[in-house]
Amino acid sequence: MNDNDVKLNKAIELLNQRGLDGLIIYSSGTCSIMRPSYLHYFSELRPFGPNNAIIISKSGDITLLVEPPWDSIRASEKSWVSDTRGTSDFLRDLTSIMQELKITGSVGVVGSREMKHDIYNSIKKEANVEITDDIIEEIAREKTQKEIDIIRKTAQIADVGFEALLKYARVGIREYELVAEMEFAMRCAGANEIFLLMSSGKHNYEMHEPTERRLAEGDIIIGEFSPVYEGQFIQLCRTIVLGKPSPILIEKYNILIHALDESLKQIKPGVPASSISMAMNKVIGEAGYAKYCYPPYMRARGHGFGVGSIAPGAALNDDNKMIIERHQVLVAHPNQYIPETGYLACGDPVLVTDTDFERLTETEMKLYAKEV
């Protein structure tokens, strides 16, 4: 049985267990770092039209419906789902497939947060709706070798992105030009998409989209560099100084590296995700910056990443009690505002192993300085 048969059988088993007539896995074609891409995970198709759905009946019939209609050619080539249909009238065709597959009692809906009012209401007219994102979350818990390979490749692309940053960061280049060079390097290395926030200046307050600002001597460049490959995000957070870093910057950055090391020591299957954040905040708090560890200065100490599930969650903080499990991917980042230096970026992505964790990227964790 191949990986896709396993996914489908598990979905059928779970929907039958819950007494559902069928399952709809929906996507509005957007991809967010804060949410899983359920349809992409299940079908292996990266959707892009405004409405896309997989419809599964309790007896195992499965259809992939994509809008616009011309995307059905790509969908049938990329996805393992053999019944792939294109539509220019999504509502009409979705409800007609529900009727065809006899989904009339209760239907589980995955990805409902992306649904617009009219789609949700149309489904509701056909069957009782139950929100069942957890069905895919459950299936996605165990990662296949193919998924692990994708994770490793994405991590390599992140390393390539940082190399480009180091190469092109120089006095006079504009922020958006620097991002263009990083993006070029990561796309050439295979990235489908890039999530990238950065800032430059003598004292940064937050990371943002690139502006026209030209880099100057003494600038601190901070960034979260997150390529996406086959739906998988991996994030690397680093800080570079253009010129010689000040002793105080070195001292404060070392606190963050220590906080990262302490937090990584917590990572192993069975512990709550909050332990990562708590360990980080303890180090930074003891250094005198406890107030800056919480909103409005800080929101999260990392995120989970994945295609079918982002467990242990979109925000690793002291309140996140989700249990860390094998094969989860997360970034731990003590990115921190420090009054003496401004906002600094420091973080590494890891894969949770049977016993602890594995750092996914090769880029050394240190404060980088580039001669000008």
């Binding site: 957007t30 990266r46 039209g49 011309w70 995307d71 030009e177 263009a180 060079e181 993006e183 989209e209």
Partner: protein, 382 residues
């Protein structure tokens, strides 16, 4: 055209106050308030979502969201405008550098935040205008908002802003001209580049870099190989591009919020992209363009365009349509279709596309962004 939306808008993000000064937004607001008064609206909610549908709130604020989430601008008859976006409060200072609005709030769930705001400002009960909410807002947020405003009279007033946005001001046309320049420049770069080991992904990387370095905020690329038996426009793959291939490239670029698109067909010769001879498509395209005239309905223009295609005996491929309006949204009204009864007017900007079968290269596709000016239709992406 449907394209892949980015996960984050990572291009140049600025507010150029010369290109788009505050007075431009004030004019729009004054007009909106007049329309609100005519329709008895106390408070108007302009909603936008992600990177394909940010137009409504952006039209009055210049704000564009960084993540695929929601934005609302609240317009009242007397008060200041309020901008709310879904995101962290740390993003507010940067957001304020890209908008003239003073009141900017970040929130986790925009439906809850808007209800809180309307309560604070005593707008419950009121006559509340919705623009874009029913169509674009995720259903759970829409339901919460709708229920929470059960004491309000809700009026759908999409038409107010849609009609205003359909006819562009001179400054808007200039912005579309600027994004068109980037589109044209990018095509020049890729036509002049000799690629070694040409592959679709590397080609796309070059396209992105060329456009980003010119200041593109958002970029969309689709590709097709029409010599294949089954083909369609699609995102790039890790597939080689070989000598003899014919390739259609769709490129859309957003510069300072405004979009432009262009489509061209190439053949691959050695390691370069070369423009093939397809006189039929180009001549036909010019003939269709001549039919664009202010005062005609879009429907009438559509029928005339189809008439020209039939007269030419070209085999038309209808999947990608003939085009639509373009501006703050990559796709906006009017839609060049039989059912669109809007009138063509000076100041409109739209895409005009033509796809026809070709015995040598499979299919030829031509597309441009056009401004309907006093002098007639002008191609901005030549």
């Amino acid at each position: 055209m449907e394209t892949i939306q980015p996960t984050l808008r990572i291009g140049r993000t600025v507010w150029d106050k010369i290109n788009m000064p505050e007075v431009e937004f004030q004019k729009r607001i004054d007009k909106i308030k007049q329309e609100m008064k005519k329709e008895g609206i106390d408070v108007l909610l302009l909603y936008g979502h992600a990177f394909n549908d940010y137009g409504n709130p952006c039209y009055v604020s210049n704000f564009i969201i960084r993540l695929p989430r929601g934005t609302i601008v609240v317009v009242t008859q007397d008060g200041e405008l309020e901008l709310m976006f879904e995101g962290s409060s740390r993003g507010v200072p940067f957001a304020k550098t890209t908008t003239w609005l003073k009141d900017v709030r970040a929130c986790g769930d925009i439906s809850k935040e808007i209800v809180k705001y309307l309560k604070e400002k005593d707008f419950i009960p009121s006559t509340t205008g919705f623009a874009g909410l029913r169509q674009l807002m995720p259903y759970n947020q829409f339901q919460l908002l709708f229920k929470s405003l059960d004491q309000c009279k809700i009026v759908d007033v999409n038409h107010i802003i849609r009609d205003m946005r359909m006819v562009k001001s001179q400054r808007e046309c200039d912005q579309i001209r600027r994004s068109s320049r980037i589109v044209s420049h990018t095509f020049d770069v890729i036509s002049d580049t000799v690629f070694s080991n040409m592959n679709e992904r590397i080609l796309e990387a070059h396209i992105f870099k060329a456009a980003r370095l010119e200041g593109a905020g958002d970029i969309r690329v689709l590709i097709a190989k029409p010599l294949k038996a089954k083909w369609a426009l699609r995102p790039v793959e890790d597939t080689a591009i070989s000598a003899g291939d014919s390739i259609i490239i769709y490129l859309a670029v957003e510069f300072e919020r405004y979009w432009s698109e262009r489509i061209r067909t190439f053949i691959v010769k050695d390691s370069s992209l070369v423009k093939p001879e397809f006189e039929t498509a180009e001549t036909l395209y010019k003939r269709i363009m001549k039919r664009i005239k202010p005062g005609k309905t879009v429907s009438q223009f559509y029928k005339e365009a189809i008439g020209e295609i039939e007269k030419s005996h070209a085999e038309y491929i209808p999947e990608y349509g003939l085009g639509h309006g373009i501006g703050l949204n990559l796709q906006e009204p009017p839609v060049i279709a039989e059912v669109d009864t809007n009138q063509l007017k000076e100041g409109m900007c739209f895409t005009l596309r033509l796809t026809i079968k070709d015995t040598t290269i499979g299919a030829a596709m031509v597309g441009n962004t056009i401004n309907l000016s006093k002098k007639g239709p002008e191609i901005l992406t030549n």
